[in-house]
């Protein structure tokens, strides 16, 4: 390991090629992963190294090739299936929910599906209402699958290997605004287990809980809160299913206040689950209502000012946190 910076995109690519080099059962499959290099350029160049048989360009058939990924995992392979975005994954949801998530249980534990499905998620690129949504919470609802969200370059670098080592289907979400982020990479041993939430900044006054594309905004908000004399703890969930409630509860027991930042639509969001858990299990520790900043309940619109207004922003997080601490919000 050296400490040169690489991008989130490169981190993913490195992780994929490393996995493919070290285990010949691993292959990558999806729309335009080969000749085009991936719609977000994650797999650019991989087909040169591994050939079209292991970097498989599929037709536009989300249900078909995701199902084929499940079948290939049943057949002893370790597929990485890329679905371009979570929006299109709806076309494959039957295969994921009714097959990938159920086969082990339904067969009395005879069948395992060691499959990784990667997909982009989130807004910020002005791609409007059919390309910008965040449905990680839906996947987090389903028993039988696991859901990971690498929100740092380091996690992008190391989580894939952990996902591939898991005997069950893992869905990995990559927020579209992260691909160009860059950072130096720590040693592998410094990457926490995929099931663990991580305290990205510690603090005492309030717990800001978030994941994915909202992490950097939340950290920025925490910094601003610092300047107002508020010490915010920032927790990155990392794994949305199963949830690492231990880390969350520990933080809330310390800070007594919680604000969840989540790019999903508010009603029925993952943030709702976090708030409900904390309300249920940490009720007597709370000094203020568990609160959340989510996306507005609107299909994400195209224009930049509306897209911004629809999704969580730093100022909102700061304001909400200050309110929870009964501090006057600066104008």
């Amino acid at each position: 390991m050296n400490d040169q910076s690489i991008t989130y995109r490169e981190a993913l690519k490195t992780a994929i090629s490393e996995a493919m080099r070290s285990d010949e059962r691993v292959f990558l499959m999806g729309e335009d992963v080969g000749n085009y290099g991936g719609c977000y350029a994650v797999s650019k160049g991989l087909s040169d190294e591994f050939g079209a048989d292991r970097v498989i360009d599929t037709p536009l058939s989300e249900s078909g090739f995701v199902g084929a990924g499940i079948g290939a995992a049943m057949g002893g392979m370790r597929p990485i299936v890329e679905v371009m975005t979570v929006n299109f994954s709806l076309l494959a949801l039957d295969q994921i929910v009714n097959n990938a998530a159920t086969l082990r249980h339904m067969s009395g534990n005879q069948i395992g599906i060691p499959l990784v499905i990667r997909m982009a998620t989130g807004a910020g690129k002005q791609l409007a209402a059919q390309h910008s949504h965040s449905l990680e919470n839906w996947y987090a609802h389903v028993p039988g699958i696991k859901v990971l969200v690498p929100s740092t370059v380091a996690d992008a670098r190391y989580m894939l290997a952990m996902a591939l080592a898991d005997p069950d289907p893992v869905i990995l979400f990559e927020h579209v605004m992260l691909y160009n982020e860059s950072a130096a990479i720590p040693a592998p041993k410094d990457c926490p287990d995929m099931h663990q939430a991580v305290v990205r900044k510690s603090g005492n006054d309030i717990s800001l809980i978030t994941y994915g594309g909202s992490l950097s905004k939340t950290l920025e908000a925490a910094k601003e809160l610092d300047s107002h004399g508020i010490s915010a703890e920032v927790i990155d969930l990392r794994c949305l299913r199963p949830l690492d409630t231990h880390t969350l509860y520990q933080s809330v027991e310390k800070t007594h206040r919680v604000l969840v930042v989540d790019e999903g639509w508010r009603t029925g969001s993952l943030a709702a689950e976090i708030c409900a858990l904390i309300a249920e299990d940490c009720f007597w520790s709370l000094d203020a209502p568990p609160s959340r900043i989510c996306s507005k309940e609107v299909p994400i619109p195209y224009p930049q000012h509306l897209e911004r207004a629809a999704t969580p922003q730093v100022a909102q997080v700061v304001e909400a946190a200050m309110k929870l601490l009964n501090r006057e919000v600066p104008a």
């Binding site: 078909g64 199902g67 995992a73 339904m106 069948i111 028993p143």
Partner: protein, 330 residues
């Protein structure tokens, strides 16, 4: 059955074996229907009665390492594939000794040792899985065939289209078997498909495909055998359309308002078991004593399986979440 120069030779012993295999499924299912009315078997129960020649004929063409995907109407396939009747019956009862520890019931019979991959209750839901398993075989340079059974109703689903295209595009070792029994629940084929010859649809993707008389077990076996040879040869996927009929309702709830009883009676007279029995009898190859022996053997096995299922335990409630994940409590 022996194959020689791609031609299938049937001898009388083999025909009797086929007869017994079909009868075994028939009687098993009749017993299941009875047990259902006694509420020993619950949920949905989809009987295969009338279609036995398809499962039996196709399974004959397979080797141990070949894999099978089926539908919710899969008890026949499970038995024909060689699953133990005890395990299958116990599964119908929801007992822990069942092939899926009782978790699946009649629609989700699995036995990975027999490479029997279920038991799928989403219409057309298994096709992409079968394509994927065939892809894994191909990537691992295995010669094994994957067989995927589905009804003609499944053909209208997008998954049929996507799967056939992928299979042909990637030249996968897979045999699609369409059990065309003319109805999807109460919907006749003419109401669901603009092109009613399923094999022609398959041909439009470039697959080798043909229709056979699904009431004739010999015809099914020999067509499936030819296709499996071709597939193992690396010549790409095939589709076999087996024209057949279900003598009972779609499930035990079906009042069958959508078809005439004359139609049912007509098909019954062409049934796979009676057809083969009559042929054997007419040629003096099956005397009443031998028939009785077969019936008795089948009955014994079934009774034992019921006994086995009845006396088996159910899973502990404390193990409810077993098998949701690999690490779940065993």
């Amino acid at each position: 059955m022996n194959t020689d120069n791609n031609k299938v030779h049937m001898d009388i012993a083999h025909l009797k074996l086929l007869f017994k295999k079909m009868l075994r499924i028939r009687r098993f299912e009749e017993k299941c229907a009875e047990l259902y009315t006694q509420e020993k078997i619950r949920g949905f129960l989809h009987l295969y009665i009338g279609e036995e020649a398809v499962a039996v004929g196709v399974m004959q063409a397979l080797s141990t390492n070949d894999a099978v995907f089926a539908t919710y109407r899969e008890h026949g396939h499970a038995l024909a594939r060689g699953l133990s009747m005890n395990k299958v019956m116990a599964e119908m009862f929801g007992k822990v000794t069942g092939s899926s520890r009782g978790r699946g019931g009649s629609m989700h019979i699995f036995d990975v040792e027999k490479r029997f991959y279920g038991g799928n209750a989403i219409v057309a839901g298994a096709l992409p899985l079968a394509v994927g398993l065939a892809l894994a075989n191909k990537m691992q340079k295995k010669q094994d065939v994957v067989v995927c059974f589905f009804g003609e109703g499944a053909v209208a689903e997008g998954e049929f289209h996507e799967s056939l295209n992928l299979a042909q595009l990637w030249q996968l070792p897979i045999l699609f078997v369409c059990e065309n029994n003319g109805y999807a629940m109460g919907t006749a084929l003419a109401i669901s498909e603009s092109e009613q010859h399923i094999f022609r649809k398959a041909q439009s993707y470039g697959l080798k495909a043909q229709a056979v008389d699904g009431m004739n077990v010999v015809e099914v076996e020999s067509a499936a055998t030819q296709y499996c040879i071709s597939i193992k040869n690396g010549d790409g996927p095939c589709l076999l359309e087996c024209n057949t009929y279900r003598f009972r309702g779609h499930s035990m709830f079906d009042t069958q308002l959508y078809r005439e009883s004359e139609e049912i009676e007509e098909w019954k007279s062409k049934g796979p078991i009676i057809k083969l029995r009559r042929w054997l009898e007419a040629n003096g190859k099956l005397d009443p004593a031998e028939l009785k022996t077969i019936e008795d053997q089948v009955e014994d096995e079934i009774n034992q399986s019921v006994e086995f299922a009845q006396s088996s335990e159910v899973e502990n409630v404390s193990d409810l979440c077993f098998g949701v994940y690999a690490e779940s409590k065993n």
